[in-house]
């Protein structure tokens, strides 16, 4: 995906295409995200799919969908950087970058100041601190444990037999949040069953689960500066952000598409490393 303008077919017409768009692909443990940026850093297209078992295929599908949304062809792609756990499975990449680096870059793009980034992903959480120049001061990932990740909420939605996408609206209906004390996902599952037996209401349990996620991520590192939250869990559960605001007393910044932050960062790196 390098080089000068090329001739290619757009539909049935042969046209000269400038290679001037940049692609970021974030192959996460749960979802794969692709974005297309123009040289002005405007988001032209994006796609999100379950990563599934064939990362290469999913990444290609995401690329095609995001290009379609952008009204672009593959020939227009100047450079692509992949990130996430499956970053090395993306066959059409020009380079890779870690998800820590890409989330940092993406978050700084939206909020160019010293920030603490809290990213809640499907399998891992990250707390990343940036200085005013967007340079990483430090970062921490969750230990080898699903506590506080999207996987925890997925497991609990199965236990409670409620669709994952209903959790946000259920949590908002809570009137008396249930407190869950366990660190371990399996033990939390047992605790949830105990609360059900005690007759606790599902919305109160779900809010308790959200609170558990917040506790796990905020105990990873002290928050400093402004706080940016990113990731799929934040995208689909905006109430969780409201809860963080209330619990920490801080103003929490959220990009327009928090789930795409890593992919946007990757695309920006693609642009900056031509």
């Amino acid at each position: 995906m390098k080089g000068n303008p090329v001739k290619c077919f757009i539909g049935d017409r042969l046209e000269s295409v400038s290679r001037n768009i940049f692609v970021g692909v974030d192959v996460g443990a749960s979802r794969t995200k692709a974005v297309v940026l123009d040289p002005e850093k405007v988001l032209l297209g994006f796609s999100v799919r379950k990563s599934g078992t064939d990362f290469q295929r999913t990444a290609a599908d995401c690329l095609n969908e995001s290009l379609k949304m952008a009204g672009m062809s593959q020939e227009a792609v100047r450079r692509c950087i992949s990130t996430g756990y499956g970053r090395k499975n993306v066959s059409f990449r020009d380079d890779t970058k870690t998800e820590i680096g890409c989330h940092a870059r993406g978050a700084y793009h939206y909020f160019p100041t010293a920030v603490t980034i809290i990213d809640i992903g499907g399998q891992d959480n990250k707390v990343i601190k940036l200085d005013t120049q967007g340079r990483r001061l430090n970062f921490k990932m969750n230990r080898k444990c699903a506590a506080g990740t999207g996987a925890f909420l997925e497991e609990m939605s199965l236990r409670l037999d409620i669709p994952l996408e209903d959790m946000d609206k259920l949590a908002r209906k809570s009137t008396e949040m249930v407190s869950l004390g366990s660190y371990c996902t399996v033990f939390s599952g047992t605790e949830v069953l105990e609360k059900i037996r005690q007759g606790k209401k599902v919305p109160d349990i779900v809010k308790g689960l959200f609170y558990s996620v917040i506790k796990r991520v905020t105990e990873m590192d002290p928050l400093s500066g402004k706080v940016v939250m990113t990731g799929g869990v934040v995208e689909h559960n905006p109430y969780l952000v409201d809860m963080v605001r209330e619990i920490t007393g801080r103003d929490i910044l959220v990009p327009e598409h928090p789930q795409l932050t890593g992919a946007v960062g990757a695309a920006l790196f693609a642009m900056e490393t031509v």
């Binding site: 890779t96 870690t98 820590i100 990932m141 080898k144």
Partner: protein
Amino acid sequence: MTEEKKSTRKEIAAGKTLKKVMADHFLELDDAARTGSRKIAWCTSVGPAELLRGMGFLVYFPENHGAMLGATRMATDLIPQANAMGYSPDICSYLTSDIGSFLQKKTPLTRAYNIASVPRPDVLVFNTNQCRDVQDWFSWYGRELGVPVVGIHTHRDIGRIRSYQISDIARQTEDLVPALEEISGAKFEMARFQQALAYSKKTSELWRACLESSAAVPSPWTFFDATIHMGPAVVARGTKEGVEYYELLLAELQERVASGVEAVEGEKHRVYWEGMPVWGKLRALSEQFASLRTCVVASTYCNSWIFDQLDPEEPFESMGRAYTELFIVRDEAYKEDYIRRCFELFKFDGIVFHDAKTCPNNSNNRYGMPERVSGKLGVPVLTINGDLNDLRCYSEEQTKTNIEAFIEQLDER
């Protein structure tokens, strides 16, 4: 971060001699165990090996065997046997893998040296300076084999060293003599003990010089190399063979420095490793760091076998001093200052703390040290979660991503 680049490495030529030193060590022990020609003492890695040699024992080090179980990736399959007997997955995985190895009659010595089993001991001698687990470990064998267990109980969390602490360790060491005489059937000979101490001291001085050769930029070898080449510093401490090996290795490292041989092609970053090695992942980690143009130049772990306080003129007192000044038994302030001194010598630009799940004594990240050291030295730190031997506690993908992101962070500075 660009994609990881393949790196070519120039092998350390002394490695051939290293293999012979290690083979001779195990074959001599095996022969003695089979023929009864010499008495055998098992000794903890920083136990009173010099005294044992001075009393005519051949010395075997179970922790070295533990490291071999880890490096050969046999440990993870052997540990559950000890777990099932009530030895928790949370305690030392050298202990659990070694006991599992004994119970399942599987040892890496078979493949390496065609030796059927570890040598049966006549006595088990510990020093708790590494941890309390070594005492529990040796006690298990003591019960299992009906062999006497004797040892030294260390002081811990030591700030300023007091004379009574040194005297206490010296006296505890001296107090072992009557029991060891009875087991060995020979009288204690001061001259032989002093000779062993002299060899140990010389080995330590040479080992220190080898490690400090990494102060050169670029470094002639890496922490990963040193974990392999420290074998004789453990098992041949107090012998002529140990001295001769490190004379050879030091000469080669000095030659490398003089001719600018770099262990990591295009050395771009220099990192300090704090904590235990992940034995089963040495090669993978070595290759990852090299591919990221990063040399892990020094470590607390390899430095922990420097005992140049030993003095044949003050045999027991100097052993007391050497084993009391040890990093692992010191307080947090001492440890932080130690890392600062290493920072000044080795000029590293980042520190990796290994939080080894089953080794709290060698996991110095747990009481806020990374944050404090980072603040004082102005270098970034990374903590990785893993273990010395139990790969069930290690996430390869997560660790690789953490390390790659850490080097990206160093690139941004």
